[in-house]
Point group: C2
Chain length 350, copies 2
């Protein structure tokens, strides 16, 4: 066990502040990583403020952060895939049972015995796991990802959550050249969805409530931008989409988007509104449409996504901040005042 | 044009009564069919009482009925697939444009220029189409189905709507041996869903609010019956289903069923509650589950279903009534007091 610097929240109202936490010394299968960058995901904020208490109550102090990029500083004796000096990344998960049917199929994210990167039972030290707002982290090599050497690291960090969360459903639902794809919402998730859908060769339409995002959407790879509050513009798109990625976690009318799908079209939710969505059965029945959800991706697919990003030079658009600005960043996040992801430069923690 | 006997409703409150209606004389591509049996579908009742006025207002007088079985009495000069004396059937559709992408793909039910069997614009005679509560009907041979000769005709009639409505999604979502399939609701649709899922080799679980349907569900082919009001029984099934066919049009908690799906599981709605369903995004996101809808099936698939029924000796369980009892049957239908479909013996109309 060793001590390392971190930023933690002591309660749901305290905000984040400098702290010292304990990490385990690397076991035989562990990799120790010096954290260089950590992205700020909206779920960090939800957890810090205990807004998901009905599902996963927050244990305090909490150290959030699951978009982690760094460099290997130590490896256990049985580690084969990494060596000191390698770039490495950690996403939302740090352990799973490895034996359940979901793990066996490469869907560790749906393992019933999953350990999340933060606020999840720590089977080594007791208490809960601590995330990436920290100097270093120790993780079983099975959950460590390789990082392409050609990418700017601050823009890589958000790929570990925002990247895989959008890449996985676009792949699963067969988004390729010749398909028409909608992306609802242009935030941390949405801007990655646009980049991936464009890179896959699809015709990409961004739906946004903010006309001032039009120029940026086109720059990111959209072919067209629809202002979703304009009923006429929406009607023109009726029945034309193969797939729509819905990244919006605020309440919104999902039927307006279901009606834009063509035969066998799908909408996948990756944002999670806290109240139930009101879904018209007729919107689904007409056109054999489907509504589904998706949750990050498995480890193999996360690696595939990172490799794809390396080959296609894809990173997130980030605003890099020192960790001392994290509370301010949370306030700006609530106002969607970021293009498109905050990323903490962990050198500021030294 | 010729006159034929029918039962029609003059208004949404009048009930059905004997009437005489006009049909076109067969054109070159038409088949004239003497109707022997017509099933009573819940949508007959909705349309007669104008309960779907917000979508498709009922034009009076209305002659409902789209589960039609009979015998060919006349064919147009260009008809190649049928001859006088053949058994024949008509389902929910009597015409489509034949040229749209959906028609070309065999999904006539989603053609934007579809003509339904009743209460749909009649492009030959003006006014609206008249359905199967009638002595005879004239339909383009493209929408006429062949009927296997080994089946009891009264039990064949409901296959044209209740049969294809359940067969199509079970096929589309890959229900086969080794899959665990739920059927929610044991009515006209549900009892056919159980028969088909069982015939496809799946493990079939019926969800019902009525314990007294247990014995019948097992007789129809269910392997297990779950009383859906029993939370413990429901919990035991969590995460175990590949596919659930939801036939219930009353309001119900869809999330309780979404949580029963395993990874990539799907619920397909074939009943259409009139109010929106409240869907929890988390129920979809966890397990990459999907919720979809399905609407009858195309003509080719309807024929495939009828042929499958012939080969596997499958028919609907019907209570045969004379047409003079149709208003009484509607009242009993509202109380689910039928096992499992009323079928009108059209000889009673002579």
């Amino acid at each position: 066990m060793y001590k390392t610097k971190a930023y933690s929240a002591a309660s749901e109202t305290s905000g984040l502040a400098a702290d010292t936490i304990a990490r385990r010394d690397p076991t035989d299968h562990d990799v120790k990583i010096e954290i260089l960058y950590c992205g700020i995901c909206h779920s960090d904020l939800h957890s810090v403020r205990n807004e998901w208490s009905h599902m996963v109550p927050t244990v305090y102090p909490i150290v959030p952060g699951h978009e982690i990029v760094g460099r290997v500083t130590q490896v256990g004796s049985a580690v084969t895939k990494y060596k000191t000096g390698d770039l490495a990344a950690i996403g939302c998960m740090v352990e799973s049972d490895g034996t359940c049917p979901n793990c066996q199929a490469g869907f560790e994210q749906f393992c019933p015995n999953l350990t999340l990167t933060f606020n999840s039972t720590d089977k080594y030290l007791g208490g809960v796991t601590y995330g990436g707002y920290s100097d270093s982290i120790v993780v079983n090599e099975r959950f460590v990802l390789r990082v392409p050497s050609n990418l700017e690291l601050s823009g890589v960090a958000p790929l570990l959550c925002a990247g895989i969360t959008t890449y996985s459903p676009l792949r699963h639902w067969g988004v390729t050249k010749g398909k028409k794809v909608g992306v609802v919402g242009l935030g941390g998730l949405g801007h990655m969805g646009v980049k991936f859908a464009h890179a896959f060769g699809a015709q990409v339409v961004v739906f946004t409530t903010s006309p001032d995002k039009t120029e940026d959407a086109l720059r990111l790879g959209a072919d067209e931008v629809v202002i979703s509050r304009n009923a006429d513009e929406m009607q023109k798109q009726a029945g034309s989409f193969d797939f729509i990625l819905d990244t919006v976690s605020a309440q919104h009318d999902i039927n307006a988007y279901l009606n834009l799908l063509r035969l066998d079209g799908n909408i996948t939710l990756v944002g999670a509104p806290s109240n139930p969505l009101e879904v018209s059965a007729f919107s689904l029945i007409m056109g054999r449409r489907s509504l589904s959800g998706s949750n990050i991706g498995g480890i193999a697919e996360t690696q595939e996504m990172l490799d794809f990003c390396g080959e296609n030079n894809i990173t997130a658009d980030v605003e890099v901040i020192p960790i001392q600005k994290v509370n301010e960043a949370y306030e700006r996040l609530l106002k969607s005042d970021v293009k498109y992801r905050f990323c903490i430069d962990m050198a500021s923690l030294k």
